[in-house]
Symmetry: D2
Subunit: 138 residues, 4 copies
């Protein structure tokens, strides 16, 4: 399993007039979470794009339990729970506030796009190789 | 059934370096869509809040089929498919580009919060009354 | 002079916990305004980029007089007041609410970047030709 | 003088199709910068609002020298250069990338609004007292 934690602070511009962190802002928080999870593999998402692979989102779902408020420090926990198969890379998420309360949980599925053909492609071997050690049987 | 159509144009600031409308921007597009759907009932979301009801999102899911690009005109089709029951108000969505291609489809579920108690509440009678005619048996 | 009017409605996600349209959102509103102003010339900003010219912002200033609120309809008035000279294209702005109150005024200066060299360049002749008729002496 | 440094990483959703951090995103970066500058005074902006003072922006200007790119770590340096006088609190800014290159510099002026009267007010004495030590003659 891959598990990473990222801390983010809710910006004023991310709140709405309810005083909540806007429901749409978690797409960015989750994106920051998965970028940090990928960094554990030894390369950044920036390098992945530089190697000719784009990874757009094909599915995104989120369940909101509690709101976050301005200036709250949020912990985004990002998981890749299983060795990804086929053309999809699924991430799972949980966001917590400083009291340890679960704010929301969600899932984001990416696909691999070959930048030169603009088509969905199998997982690149270098990405597969980097992922494998995290899911090896002990 | 309630069905409304809203047109939006992808702003430059809504694109990302893939050249796509960022996956997170549809939370705003869907929000604009449901505001326009509610306007068909005879009042704005602004008035709903003024009457003491907040309607935060508790569930949001979206499946992306095709990207939208800068300056594309997007049609957001918003549905309330059934007379809502209990404390939840579910909206369904489809986004199309000018070629009529389905870009994404999704679902957003709101709850009613009583602003003074800050607790989930049943649907206000004035909202229920406004909704009913759209779901009456013919 | 070039003068264009664009109407925008303040989205929920654009408000902050003061209940104002967030001060940062006007960068997007102004961008939408200048895209519409350029459309008066007979081409979109999208086509300008397709012709190999990027136009990033080098200066941006805004003075806020009154806030805009959720669901307010805002009129963005965009001006190119003089035939642009040299490598810069300056836009001026005024935003009004439905009561005709001035919300803010500002200025944005763009430069022309040659996409292939990534360097600042003189105004392309086709853009100069499209602009000239708006500033011809009568 | 008050001087604070804040580090931010450019998020994917903050880029635009030029591959730059969108020009509008610096309003948020500067906001984060001044929140951290105020924290040096011993209270958060959140507490300032809780004490009944809102501080909306009345003037904002920024000059862009170089773009920031996805995943770049940006240092936002925030200054209050002089003991503020009257009803305005001016902040100055510089943003740098990891190579120490100046990306942009700017200025944001806030005013104090009394939340209960919704009118511009003089600097609250507790804020003035917290600021003074930073500007005392040696």
């Amino acid at each position: 399993m891959i598990r990473s934690e990222t801390k983010l602070r809710v910006r004023y511009g991310e709140t709405d007039q309810m005083g909540y962190a806007y429901y749409g802002v978690y797409a960015q928080y989750y994106e920051v979470g998965r970028v940090e999870a990928l960094r554990l593999l030894g390369f950044s998402y920036k390098e992945i794009e530089a190697r000719g692979i784009l990874m757009p989102v094909v599915d995104y779902s989120i369940s909101y339990k509690k709101p976050a408020f301005y200036d709250d420090e949020i912990t985004v926990v990002t998981y890749i729970r299983e060795m990804p198969k086929g053309v999809k890379l699924p991430f799972e998420y949980e966001c917590f506030n400083l009291n340890g309360e679960l704010l929301n949980s969600g899932k984001v599925v990416l696909v691999y796009i070959n930048k030169s053909t603009n088509k969905v492609t199998a997982i690149p071997s270098w990405l597969e190789d980097a992922l494998k050690p995290f899911f090896s049987p002990k």
